[in-house]
């Protein structure tokens, strides 16, 4: 119950009508419930790499980079591309049971990054039947260790 005092000094008791406020709240809440998204979304920033970008250059020595191949049988291959990486041996990570061996993949990437810190670019390439979820997983692993990650447009890449 609210009290309003007039100029003459007489006070009047006024009832606050909160029904219109409830109406507004109902509409607002209904809208926000419908429009609100309870998913927290984020993004992985990558660039597109065509096979021509990955072909060995014939003039100056290109900087060293890595190529990660995701095969349909859940095998992961890590190869080098470009400038000489002394002592680098291509890595083949077979599947772990029925699934990809992401643990070993992340460990190997970390070791490669530690041993050859000059590598900043990684290209992720996947065979046709590899699903997006696995591609994202590999990109995430690569992004955690290297600056730039490229996604290859097609699988036919010749790597030395």
């Amino acid at each position: 119950m609210a009290t309003i005092q007039s100029d003459s000094g007489n006070s009047q008791e006024v009832d606050l009508n909160i029904v219109p406020v409830i109406d507004c709240f109902t509409v607002l809440i209904t809208y926000l419930l419908v429009a609100a998204s309870f998913l927290s979304l984020s993004a992985l920033e990558v660039e597109t790499a065509s096979s021509s970008d990955l072909a060995p250059m014939t003039t100056a020595e290109p900087p060293a980079s890595l190529v990660i191949d995701l095969l349909s049988d859940k095998t992961i291959k890590i190869q080098s591309l470009g400038g000489p990486l002394k002592g680098f041996q291509p890595v083949v990570i077979p599947k772990n049971g029925k699934d990809w061996d992401w643990g070993t993949f992340n460990d190997r990437l970390q070791k490669i990054q530690k041993r050859w810190p000059s590598i900043t670019d990684v290209t992720v390439n996947a065979e046709k039947k590899v699903i997006y979820k696995d591609l994202v997983r590999s990109v995430e692993g690569a992004k955690a260790k290297f600056k730039k990650v490229y996604l290859a447009e097609n699988h036919e890449i010749e790597v030395r």
């Binding site: 709240f25 926000l32 309870f38 998913l39 984020s42 597109t48 046709k128 994202v136 997983r137």
Partner: protein, 155 residues
Amino acid sequence: MKSKFVKVKKQGEDVSLQITSMADIFVILLVFLLKSYSTSMSNLTLTGDVALPEGQATIELKEALKVEITKDAVLIDQKPVAKLKKFEFSSESAEADESSMNKALKKHRKVNDKNSSDLVVISDERTPSETLQRVMSVAAGSGFVDLQLVVVRPE
């Protein structure tokens, strides 16, 4: 005996509805919903049944052209431009689909930012790489080479 247990309503008694408690609940609900309502990329509405892959990425989405890959279609700016059958392009209409995607991308570039190379990719986690690579190839041809792959942060 019955009169002792049955409450007798007095004539002319007004029954008032107590909505103060409801107003309190509404205020709390409203505050919570306003807090969780995100204004950045708030127009990112997913069409259809798209299951986004999970990821630990922390980069916030930037405003850019959106390409959505669902089970049945490829949508550019929420408009279907190509039909898919279980996430795959049909071999018969491949050229037409590519041409349609190309047109939509070029139209967007003409109407909006001519220099932007950013593209937001919203794809279902079950999409095969072949489909994604084809979409990427068409997008790269139109100058969209900087991709943002949308992922859901697991709680």
